[in-house]
């Protein structure tokens, strides 16, 4: 079973994503963070197999956290979570920085699981 870290400032989103991901078979959500700084700390602490990282957060946004994470753990599979659909600049920047993929809101359960299985 792969361990997943969810980082999102919205408790509602984290709950929704955990409900989709944590099926007790393939994926287990091991921790949640509320901003980019917590993402870095929790990654170092828990060494998750996958990180779901919100793009737009207070304190430290997702792209800034992604940049740091890729320097610290270049092989870490990170997927960005965003309501911005495929808004060109942010999508491109996330992929360029090393994100494996982008999950768009509203979530579709099978799309999210398929994406995580591909990592």
């Amino acid at each position: 079973m792969k361990s997943v870290l969810i980082v999102d400032d919205s408790i509602a989103v984290s709950r929704q994503l955990e409900k989709i991901i944590d099926d007790g078979k393939e994926f287990k959500v091991i921790a949640q963070g509320r901003n980019g700084a917590e993402a870095i700390k929790l990654c170092q602490q828990h060494k998750p197999d996958i990180v779901c990282l919100d793009m737009n957060m207070p304190v430290m946004d997702g792209l800034t956290a992604l940049r740091s994470l890729m320097q610290l753990m270049p092989d870490l599979p990170v997927v960005m979570v965003t309501s911005l659909g495929g808004v060109g600049d942010k999508y491109t920047e996330a992929i360029r920085l090393g994100a494996r993929d982008v999950i768009s809101k509203p979530f579709e359960k099978e799309s999210v699981l398929d994406m995580l299985r591909r990592l």
């Binding site: 919205s10 408790i11 509602a12 709950r15 409900k19 207070p58 495929g86 993929d101 982008v102 809101k105």
Partner: protein, 289 residues
Amino acid sequence: MPVKFFGQFMVEKGAITRMALLQAIDLQEKTNLKFGEMVIEMGLMGKEDIARVHLAQRSEDLHFGDMAVKMGFITEDQVQQALTRQRNSHLYIGEALVKVGAISDQSLEKYLADFKQDQAGYISEKIEIPADVPHRPIWEMVADLTYKMLTRVVGISFRPGPCTIIEKIPARPIIAEMGFSGSVSARYLLSVSESTRNLVAKAILAEDSVENESVEILDDSVKEFVNIVCGNIAAKAAQLGHSIDITPPEMRDDSAHGITVPEKHTGLMFPVYLSDGEIFELTIFVADR
């Protein structure tokens, strides 16, 4: 499937790799000139003029071409010439994917048809915005996407009422808002009753009941719904050639007294009638030009 770009659609479909998409985007960036770059290439303006226009745009919300005309660098006709040349030489992402060898010319047509079908649910139908309101097509799209997300995300039946210009949003227990900047300057506000908030929370949390949830979680769900809608609005706006940045969602703490439309703004209200007799409102505070 939410509003998205063709490139993202192709990656998600497994038709191309992320690397191929980046190569195509790089090619697009090299090929497609921005308006300022185009007028330089056409010999209409110099680099220093461009910098002056950019500086002036910081203090006045005008498109580059309009500002350049206002400052006397180019004429309206030259703006049109540059726009036409920009349009005619534009390399679309599908064409770029063919050029970098990611897909064949023949398959592009089929993928575009699949993409069109995928996004068909997000194509706007006509919504009437009062005359003289700036950027009317954008507000039509904002209302339309809100209605579509209410159906798809929250799963409620409703009837949208006609858009009216208002002076004040009526008092509501919960009002969540987000800001738009970039091509337009505005605030997006969704004002709901407690029962409508709970409907939204049920959908966002994917729970059958939210009776035992805290107010913080319930309010957070409304903010998240607004965030989803506005994110998709920004994506749709980008498809239409506008650049909209959104600020994080917030709860208004003055909702219980109603909210007066700020000075130098127009308040557009779109009432939404639910089948159980409840009403809630989408309101947009549009900054005057």
